[in-house]
Amino acid sequence: MTTPFSAALGAELTKLRRSLSWSVVVLLPVVVVLAGSFTTVVSGQQLADGWHTLWLRSVVFYGLLPLPLGLGILASLAWRPEHRGGSWNALMSSPVPSLYVVLAKTLVVALLGAVMQLVLLVTVVLTGKLLFGLAGMLPGRYLVITVLLVVAVLPVAGVQSALSMAVRSFATPVAVALVGAGTAAVLLAAELGGVVLVLPWAVTARATQLATGTFGDSGELTAGGAAAVVVAGALLTLLAVALATRYLERRDVHT
């Protein structure tokens, strides 16, 4: 039986099929990994620590800027149909509860974010094997980090979706994502510890830095570090969804 929530989620997935979301989801991780690898190749350097060096060069910058901005663009894209024509009024008059609408949008953005992480993982593996001829396979800890990254995109998906719901402009939420990502990068560089995880963009960036030894990371994948990302991510996502739902319930039709 189709529940109102599954219907809302299905509708969002149908809308996505007709969008250009794939261009961000596929191109962004591929371009970041290839650009990092290209600079390594032309510099004539070797990957000093094999897979670890390749992962570090591919993923750390990706988590600081391209990933949060990519999620910001995808969230704007997800809410774009509602801000055009009479779709907002149709949304306001539909029987689907606000919570389901907000949840469906957030999950769809997070789903695209999850696919981005898989594309990133596959591109890193292919680059390591085909371009650098690295022995063996990408160590298992990076597969665990990829799973953590899938969780870590949730808070940014939630906040960016909420912003894109509240603001009609496509570009403005992306500007907020840039400010958020920039602030998170500075705070992480200052090595303030777990406090920075109150910022959604910092949670995503921190997840990409796990086991890299950068930005104050210990260089090891620890249960504490992973748990901090998961707990902070879950709490911030719940908060973003709750606030967005409350906001949507108080909105009216556009006349």
Binding site: V31, T39, F61, L65, L69, S76, F170, A171, V186
Partner: protein, 255 residues
Amino acid sequence: MSGRRVGTGGVVRNEVAKLRHLRVGLVAGLMVLGMVALTLLSTLTSAVFADPARRSWDVPLAGLSLAVPLVCPLLLALVASRMVDVEHQGGGWLLNATSGTTPGVLCRAKLVTGAGVVVVVTAVTHLSVWALGRLAGIDAPVPVGLWLGFAAAGLAVNLVVLALHVVLSATVDNQLVALGTGLLGTVVAVFGSGFPAWSAHLTPWGYYSLVAAAGYEGQDLVRTSPSCFSVLVLTVTAAALFGLVTSRFDRQETR
């Protein structure tokens, strides 16, 4: 109603008036703040700057050479998107066409207006870095020629990128394309300093690495000369293409 055609000056004045409502001033402020903050951060954390005997203008110039490609590509895409998307959403193309302002003329007016913003941003950013450098204790003589060349070449590249985004935002209604391109441009611009010179010439964003005034080679700070000739060729080519494309807009049926 007079039915008189609006002159070019009038179209530009209209665009300036729109800037206030589009909060472009806020985005411009963000550009200045982002570039100055990143320059300050990289300067104060530089090992070269920590030694008072080696303190020179090359340190903030290297910081600014990195901050410009990190901040400008996406925010220029954002400025262009904000300025053009309003015409898509409000039926502005048709409204302007009925008063004699064709889409091509409108795009050229938007570029002139946006260029004014970029000129102010460039001037304020460079003057701020100079003032903060003085405050931070850099007493060495200012390399005026190098700095002016860097500022002028950087401004030219920014204007080319802005022109590209005005055309892109006007051509494709879905602003995902414009902002996604801006994001990919940021990646190319950031990694561009590691690319060989020939490949930096392949995209407008690669030119950010060609205008750098200083940078780090490993731990060593080196002064570089902006490739003014390459930037001049880019600017002339881009101006010709922009004129060609926008004159084609004038001959197309208004949306």
